[in-house]
Amino acid sequence: MSCGTCLMVCPREALSVVSGCYALVDSLRCIGCGKCAKVCPASCISIFRREAAAG
């Protein structure tokens, strides 16, 4: 839907809407707080846990 609600809540400005078509997450900026997923009215965003790198 690209309504941009996720942009409003992201504390790290890690999200952007590309060409009015979809939301893009900058994985380098994202801290995985999940605020965007919580507010998305179309449940477009999911949060996945990453395994810690071994060693």
Binding site: M1, S2, C3, G4, T5, L7, M8, V9, C10, P11, R12, E13, S16, V17, V18, S19, G20, C21, L24, K38, V39, C40, P41, A42, S43
Partner: protein
């Protein structure tokens, strides 16, 4: 935690409140709502983005203020069918049909075939008296008729959005907002035609 940089357009929720307040006292202010119709289309057609929805929608900001800040929203998931393609495009078609009907009513009043109705029609069905907001001075009847019609559309969608804000997520209205469906359709068509995506829309820059 780092706070987002504030922009002038982050305060457009105040404009939304102001718009509905002004229309309560003088219905002719309803014409200002045309900005909410044209700006998203201009951004989509010429910029290929949804900058209006993303950053300038006063209504969306208002729902967030009420739903998140004041915690009026239950924050439950929006029902799937509300953001399904068939419903979004179906609602747009319904909305445009009702809009067309409103424009036709304005034409009838302008042509002298119907008389001015000084009322606001909620949910395309219920007429509310609104005569105090209009004194027949200096403007043709069709201008006033369009104001009543347009204010009805704006108030109806605001109320639907408010109910959805309380029941589901704050910006559940955006799931099937006709302007959002239209502008996204334009953006997608542009990408298809041009064969490339434009730069991401971030706060503070449009392209």
């Amino acid at each position: 935690m780092k706070q987002q940089k504030q922009h002038w357009y982050d305060y457009l929720w105040i404009w939304s409140i102001l718009y509905f307040s002004l229309g309560f006292f003088n219905i002719l202010f309803a014409w200002l709502g045309m900005l909410d119709f044209f700006l998203p289309l201009l951004f989509a057609i010429f910029g290929g983005n949804k900058f209006f929805c993303n950053h300038m929608c006063g209504r969306g900001q208002l729902y967030m203020k009420l739903g998140m800040k004041l915690k009026w929203s239950r924050n439950r998931p929006t029902p799937r069918w509300m953001y399904a393609k068939w419903f979004r495009w179906g609602f747009l078609a319904f909305f445009m049909a009702m809009f067309g009907n409103m424009v036709f009513q304005t034409y009838l009043v302008g042509a002298g075939a119907a008389s001015l109705r000084q009322s606001v029609q909620l949910f395309w069905s219920f007429r509310l008296p609104w005569h105090w907001a209009y004194s027949a001075v200096g403007v043709p009847d069709w201008v006033a008729q369009y104001s009543f019609g347009f204010y009805s559309v704006m108030l109806t969608s605001l109320l639907i959005g408010l109910v959805l804000m309380v029941l589901f997520k704050p910006r559940s209205w955006c799931a099937f907002c006709p302007m959002g469906t239209m502008t996204q359709g334009i953006c997608k068509a542009r990408v298809k035609l041009k064969g490339k995506v434009s730069a991401p829309v971030e706060a503070g820059k449009t392209e």
